[in-house]
Amino acid sequence: MQPNMKVSGARASYLQASPLAVILGVFLLIPIATIVVVSFWDYNEYELIPGFVLQNYVDALGSAVTWHTYLATIRFAVIVWTFTLGIGFTVAYYLAFHVRSTLWQMLLFQLCAIPFLTSNIIRMISWIPFLGRNGIINQALQNLHITDQPLEFLLFSDFSVVLAFVHLYTLFMVVPIFNTLMRIDRRLIEAARDAGAGAWSILIDIIIPLALPGIAIGTIFVVTLVMGDFITVRLMSGGQSASVGLMMANEIALLQYPAAAAHAVVLLLTVLMMVWAILRVVDIRREL
């Protein structure tokens, strides 16, 4: 009876897993394969011309604009990562170690998580009343006589892009870090305290090393989201800033699909290399 059951168990697993495999195959793997194929095609104003040309890659990698755009995007990623990590870790640390009742912990955690389930575009738009030329911040600064002219850089600048990114994506740090912090054995901390460790050394020597897998997962989320973004950069910079995603979106709008596909392949490789580098540093398998 036993071996027979095992066979049927494996067969059941295949059946149960097949819808997921089919969806990811058809709407993730084949589309990415299509991008790779089309990135070698030729094109003119009217149509795609199947073939094998390297021109799209020569254009993409040979242009100074591409390199500047990549640098600008990586700069965004580093700045946003720094802020989301700092804020996200502090929030997760507060929830995990300073909120005592489990009920409050869950309620406050959900308070942080709910905005993730609302519209990103609307959350970006909602900064206009604060940052605009006649917005709340400029009015306040002028009323307090700190400045006598409205600050122009608040909206439609790198500043507003970073602000929106941090606003949208800090949650992606809070959730995985909170998860790892909650798994830390509290007796470990008590033992350290009994042995005379101060709050600071407990944080540096125990909590942060044990939180590294959560930090790594959050980092992967934030870095890949920023690297592939185009809507935040376009809306918040008003066309003033550049990003890889925006460059691709512009090519798509001009129907230069093979050019966009070549950029997409380069972007995908860049993102995968970044993820690979993070996984080399931190082992996250324990978290999965």
Binding site: S13, Y14, A21, T90, Y93, L95, H98, C112, G228
Partner: protein, 271 residues
């Protein structure tokens, strides 16, 4: 932990409170500004109080096809939600046993989360273009949304089944229950609250998805595409009115799912 709370506690509490203000402040601000008078602008001061901009939303000429795109987004989100729950649940059950390619499938699911949305959008758009099929919101966009909602659903099911007490199933089996009876009367009631969580993710993530719809939705806009179009040519508080309505809608869905989950949780603990 001991009752000792240093001065850091106060500072951290203030930091957390500021963070919550940072999260919700802007949303509350546009909710207030959406009640601007008919002559009001995008910033304070309030120029009177009215529901002018909400009424404006329902006039065809003021904005694009608000009603149509709203209806499409709700239908798409509902289909995505149902498929996400069913497929993630099945995959969660499958992953309870090791099977060939189970690791590959798991990494593929994670990859679906990491691949930038614009790539999925472009890839699906190109695939339909090459094959010569028109993209539609209920076909290609549905597939695009599932590549985003399914990883969340599968990860939630993973967490649920990792903590699941298998002895309950064994007890049911010992009492003579068939596998199907065990699933229906023991497993399902216990995981039902988490399934509501998966449903919530499936619905709201699809309802708000922009980048993955961009090239896959075809000629009929979903609501986020419509809103995006508005941001470039609408400069009145009607934009805020729309934002407020769609945010309220999301909150209603969240509260509804929360209530159902809590009710199911109560019933599960009674069993």
């Amino acid at each position: 932990m001991s009752q000792h709370r240093g001065p850091a506690h106060g500072l951290l509490t203030i930091f957390f409170a500021l963070f919550v203000c940072f999260l919700y402040g802007p949303t509350i601000t546009i909710a207030i500004l959406s009640f601007q008078g008919p002559d009001g602008g995008l910033t304070f001061p309030m120029n009177g109080v009215s529901i002018h901009w909400f009424a404006n939303l329902f006039q065809q000429q003021a904005v694009g096809d608000f009603g149509g795109s709203f209806a499409r987004s709700i239908m798409l989100a509902t289909i995505t939600m149902v498929l996400t729950v069913v497929i993630a649940l099945l995959a969660g059950l499958a992953f309870r046993r090791r099977f060939r390619f189970s690791n590959t499938l798991f990494y593929l699911t994670i990859a679906s989360l990491i691949v930038p949305s614009i790539l999925v959008s472009l890839g699906i758009g190109l695939m339909f273009n090459v094959v010569g099929i028109q993209p539609t919101w209920w076909g290609s966009a549905l597939g695009a949304h599932l590549t985003w909602t399914l990883p969340f659903g599968v990860l939630i099911m993973f967490a649920v089944f990792n903590r699941f007490d298998r002895s309950l199933e064994e007890a049911a089996r010992d009492l003579g229950a068939t596998p199907w009876q065990t699933f229906l009367h023991v497993v399902l009631p216990l995981i039902a609250p988490s399934l509501v969580g998966v449903a919530l993710f499936g619905f709201t993530l699809s309802y708000d998805e922009f980048a993955r719809s961009l090239m896959s939705a075809g000629s009929d806009n979903t609501l986020p595409l419509e809103i995006y179009g508005m941001t470039t040519n609408v400069t009145t508080p009607v934009l805020y009115a729309l934002g407020t309505l769609t945010t309220i809608f999301s909150f209603v869905v969240i509260v509804l799912c929360g209530t159902i989950a809590v009710a199911l949780q109560r019933r599960a603990t009674k069993i």
